[in-house]
Structures are given as structure tokens and as C-alpha cells.
């Protein structure tokens, strides 16, 4: 019985197993302020959904609800068909939600490999000492495979550029992601080349069958990488469109309400 469930969970097949995340009727209130009114979305395996909206529309709030930072005031989250609730961010991460935060969440004074394994460090021997060699090697392998240009897996985060840091954060999500990755403005502070690199990493995640939710203010980017786009306006869920079946103008008017 349990094996059947476990086998069907990460699968991309039909049925609930292929829906890493399902949000229904999500509502979030801070005191008297309603940040999210009512939000419904289904994220399927192997697709990128862009979440767009003006400043203060509620995008980060929604990401924080899915990643366990906030609890929804109302509504239901399901992962692979099963209802879930998260006590906090690390609980969500344990249950398979990987997040690339707007403010990075890297530890500056530590090497890349320690960040890759932050909170899940590998140890060896009866004294459970850190297995730095293995962490460095696995990180280097991953970085090489994803063709991320950093000096070394042993480089300190402080020595890296903004783009390199973002790439490290995404590598980390890639490494641990089982089926669902959330990204809050992953390219907000990046130059053209770095943005292209990060977009490539996001598309690789899709190839691997992950469901990706990307918050972005950049409509060019949305149309470049996303399969669907969903719009928030002042906490209201305006709608979701297939990229192939919509236009920039339609999305802009959904965002602005004009």
C-alpha cells in the first residue's frame, strides 16, 4: 500500500500524482488588511507558471504561504493530491517545497558547498564530523553539470557576483527539489547575461519534471520561459492564461485593471 503511494507521488502521470501543488480558495489577512482575497491555482509537473502583478499585489505573500512562512487565513493546499499544512519554512522544505528567496538566503561567509548543504550537512564517522570533501565534490559536480560559472565550489559566497549568488541559490533548489520550486523575482537584480543563465537553469528544472512558480515583473521574461501566467491585482486573483493563447496587452490590462 505505502509503496504504491510512494511510487505514484513523484510521477508526472495523470491524476493527482501529476499535480505537485494545488491551491484552493487561499485567503490571507494581516490584521484588517486583506493581502490575498481568494486564490486558486494548480501547478502541474514539468511546467513553469509565472505569477505577475504590481507592487503590493500579494505575490510574495502567496509565495510565503506556499513555503510555510505564513499560514493561510483560509483555504487549502494540496501536494500530489494530499492536503498539507506547514508549521514553518523548514517544515515546508521537509515536505518537498524548495524556495529561491527574493533576498537570497545564502550564508555569506561560508563556501558554496556549505550553502548547498545548509541545514542538511553531510557527516561521517562515529563523531559525525562534517564531510567537507564529499559536500565540496558533490557541489562541484552539480555546478559543472549545470554549467554554472563560479570559481570553485569552495569559493566563499562573499566573493561571488550577484548573478553567481543567484545561480548558487537556484542550484541548491535544483539539487534538493523533489517536485516543486518557488522563485520570488530570481532575476530582479541581474544583468542580461546572468538573467539568461538563470532562465536556462529554470528551464532545466522544468525538463526534470519539476513544477516551477516564478514571480516576475519582467513580461518579456514571462513570455520567454513560462507555460502559463497568473495575475494578482491588489490581492484579487484576476485569472490564469496559457502563454500560447494570450498577448502582452491582455496581461498588462489584467495587471493594471485598465
Amino acid at each position: 500500500m505505502s509503496t504504491v503511494i510512494e511510487e505514484s507521488v513523484p510521477g508526472a502521470g495523470p491524476g493527482a500524482g501529476g499535480v505537485p501543488l494545488q491551491l484552493s480558495n487561499i485567503r490571507k489577512q494581516f490584521g484588517g488588511v486583506v493581502a490575498i482575497e481568494r486564490f486558486d491555482l494548480e501547478l502541474r509537473a514539468g511546467e513553469i507558471v509565472a505569477l505577475v502583478g504590481d507592487n503590493g499585489a500579494g505575490k510574495s505573500t502567496l509565495v510565503k504561504i506556499i513555503s510555510g512562512v505564513y499560514q493561510p487565513s483560509e483555504g487549502e493546499l494540496r501536494m500530489h493530491g494530499r492536503p498539507v499544512s506547514f508549521r514553518d519554512a523548514s517544515d515546508a522544505r521537509r515536505q518537498g517545497v524548495e524556495v529561491v528567496y527574493q533576498d537570497l538566503a545564502l550564508v555569506d561567509s561560508q563556501p558554496v558547498y556549505m550553502n548547498m548543504f545548509l541545514g542538511r550537512e553531510l557527516t561521517r564517522g562515529p563523531l559525525r564530523l562534517l564531510d567537507r570533501r564529499r559536500m565540496a565534490r558533490e557541489t562541484q559536480e552539480l555546478v559543472d553539470r549545470l554549467d554554472v560559472r563560479i570559481p570553485s565550489a569552495k569559493a566563499t559566497i562573499r566573493e561571488l557576483s550577484g548573478g553567481q549568488r543567484q545561480a548558487v541559490a537556484i542550484c541548491r533548489a535544483t539539487h534538493w527539489a523533489s517536485s516543486l520550486v518557488l522563485m520570488d523575482e530570481p532575476t530582479a537584480a541581474l544583468g542580461v547575461a546572468e538573467t539568461a543563465k538563470v532562465e536556462e537553469l529554470i528551464m532545466r528544472l522544468r525538463e526534470r519534471g519539476a513544477a516551477v512558480l516564478v514571480v516576475s515583473h519582467n513580461l518579456d521574461q514571462v513570455f520567454r520561459i513560462a507555460d502559463r501566467v497568473t495575475v494578482l491585482r491588489r490581492g484579487r486573483h484576476i485569472g490564469t492564461r496559457d502563454i500560447a493563447a494570450t498577448t502582452r496587452n491582455e496581461i498588462v490590462s489584467m495587471i493594471t485593471g485598465a
Binding site: 512562512v69 528567496y101 538566503a105 550564508v107 545548509l118 550537512e121 564530523l129 562534517l130 565534490r137 559536480e141
Partner: protein, 326 residues
């Protein structure tokens, strides 16, 4: 060897980012101060083996406390109560020894008192969410009062031979016991900070607490642990004083807080969290010990020593503390 191994080797060669001399302030300072006193106080016996050994012996309590404080600062907190804990632990151990004449009870009582103070500090920092600066400032005063209260300002002699031999006068294969305690504290501190998950989590909490939290690191537990560790190191320092001086008094450790903080900062540990060096703290402590010793040999009065030490510490700390301003 895999390809990744080779790539790692090839790419992690020497860093050519320019010599960051601030990281080496403690080494440079150590050598400079040593040479200075060797030249000026050599005739007064600074360079004799006895004197140099004495420096290490007298510095042992500072070294032990410095190791504990490295963890606290690495986690982005501070512990101002350590000086008071020294006196409390020494007195409680001495009183317990007087009552029971049992070395284990005495040591356990002293260390237990330290653990308790550390726990109180930790709970106020994590549950009440007060800054550790305020919490430990308050407990510093309260614990100092308690230490005075325990014996009503009386000093208590220690006559238990086992205790004196373990914490003061004994030796291991000819190495003075206090030197062994210093080495042990440094080795344990180094391994825990560099080679365990707890050490990595401590540094992560001090570096980016949000990242630590979302990565599943138990931030509150880390903070309680570092504060308990530091208080227990201070308690151990109290035992070492009681062992060496064969007694305890409420003034023990009174002047140590500044010395320990200076030793740790000069040793390259960041006052803002995320970076800690145990070896640096050891050298910083020895530097402070050398300074004490040299100034006494130079014939400065106690008040002059205090001023000189303050000035030198200020210089050393400003040389090593430039990181966050760049």
C-alpha cells in the same frame, strides 16, 4: 579521483585577491609585542622559560573563556556575564568543597551554576526575544551580586587536594595542568566550530539568521547552546582560578570581560556574527597575557597598566575590526 575532484583541485589554488592583512593582525601583533618585550624587558627576565610558561598558565582562564565567547559572537550574540560567572562558580565550588570535601561535587556545583546562568541568558534571548546585550548585562550585575551574597564577601579557601591538582597545580607528563586545560579547550572548540553541524549552524545563525531559519536550523536552540557553552566555559575558568589560587573570592574574573572580548576580536572573530576563529582567540589570549606580564615587568603601576592595556586593546581592535565598514 573523479572529474569533479580534479576540477576542485585545479580551481581552489591560492587566492590572488591580495593579502588581507587584517586576518593576520593577531599574528603580527603577537610577534610585534613579543619582540618588543623581548628587547625591552629581556633583562628583566621576560624571555626565561619560567616567565613564558607563567604567561601561558596565567592566561588559561582567559583562553577557556575566549573559546566559549567565539561561539557566542559567531552566532551574532554577546555574553557580558562571563566575568561574574567566574566568581560565582569559583565560590560555589569552594563552598561545596568545604562542605563535602568531594572534588566531583565541587566541580559539578561550579559548572552547574554556570550552566544555569547560561540557560537563563538563553531563555531570555530566545523566548522573551531580548537582545543578548541587555540580558547578559543584567545577569552580569545579578550574578555579581549573587557571588557577593553567597559568602557575604568572604573569601573561601580550597584545600581539597584532588581539586587543586586537577584544576590548578597538577601536571600531565610534565606539562602544567592549566596549559593542558587551555590546549583541551582550544582543540575541542576548534573541532566543534569547524567540523560539526552544530558549529556550521552557529556560524549560519550569526551570518544570516533568515537563511538559517528557512534551512531548518533550530535557531533558538543554537542561541541557547552558545550562551550555555560560554557560561560553562566561564564556570570552568572559575574552577581554574580557584585551583591555582587555592581559594575563591568574589573579585575573581572581575577584570576579565574586557580582556576576553579583546582577545576574541583581535583573534579575527567578527563582532557581527558569522565568522569565528578559535586559533585566533588562543593567540589573542596569549597576546593579552603577554601584555599583562610585560607591563608588570616594565614596572608600571596598576593604574598605568590599566590605561596602557586599554589603549593597546583599542588600537588592536580597530586594526582588526574593519570588515563591515568597507
Amino acid at each position: 579521483m573523479t572529474q569533479a575532484d580534479a576540477a576542485l583541485k585545479a580551481r581552489s589554488g591560492p587566492r590572488l585577491r591580495g593579502f588581507n592583512w587584517r586576518e593576520y593582525v593577531v599574528y603580527i601583533g603577537f610577534v610585534v609585542v613579543f619582540l618588543f618585550f623581548a628587547v625591552t624587558q629581556g633583562a628583566n627576565g621576560f624571555l626565561t622559560t619560567t616567565n613564558l610558561t607563567n604567561i601561558v598558565i596565567q592566561t588559561a582562564p582567559i583562553t577557556v573563556m575566549a573559546v566559549g565567547l567565539v561561539f557566542v559572537l559567531s552566532a551574532g550574540e554577546i555574553d557580558l556575564s562571563i566575568g561574574s560567572v567566574v566568581a560565582l562558580s569559583a565560590l560555589i565550588a569552594a563552598v561545596t568543597l568545604r562542605a563535602t570535601d568531594n572534588m566531583l561535587y565541587g566541580a559539578a556545583a561550579g559548572l552547574g551554576a554556570g550552566a544555569l546562568v547560561g540557560l537563563v541568558n538563553g531563555l531570555f534571548v530566545t523566548l522573551v526575544r531580548l537582545p543578548s546585550f541587555l540580558v547578559t548585562l543584567a545577569t552580569m550585575g545579578a550574578v555579581a551580586g549573587l557571588a557577593r551574597e553567597v559568602t557575604g564577601l568572604q573569601s573561601v579557601p580550597v584545600a581539597n587536594d584532588a581539586f587543586l591538582s586537577l584544576f590548578g597545580q597538577g601536571d600531565v607528563f610534565g606539562i602544567p595542568g592549566l596549559v593542558v586545560w587551555s590546549i583541551a579547550a582550544v582543540v575541542v572548540g576548534y573541532v566543534v566550530l569547524r567540523q560539526t553541524r552544530y558549529g556550521a549552524h552557529t556560524l549560519a545563525v550569526g551570518d544570516n539568521i533568515g537563511a538559517a531559519r528557512v534551512s531548518g536550523i533550530k535557531v533558538a536552540r543554537v542561541k541557547i547552546m552558545v550562551l550555555m557553552g560560554s557560561a560553562m566555559c566561564a564556570a570552568l575558568a572559575g574552577l581554574l582560578y580557584a585551583g591555582r589560587l587555592q581559594g575563591a573570592r568574589y573579585t575573581l574574573g572581575e577584570a576579565d570581560l574586557m580582556t576576553v572580548i579583546a582577545a576574541v576580536i583581535v583573534g579575527g572573530t567578527s563582532l557581527f556574527g558569522g565568522k569565528g576563529s578559535i586559533v585566533g582567540a588562543l593567540l589573542g589570549s596569549l597576546l593579552m597575557g603577554m601584555l599583562n606580564n610585560g607591563l608588570i615587568l616594565a614596572g608600571l603601576s596598576v593604574s598605568q597598566q590599566m590605561m596602557a592595556r586599554g589603549a593597546i586593546i583599542l588600537i588592536a581592535v580597530s586594526l582588526s575590526l574593519r570588515e563591515k565598514r568597507s
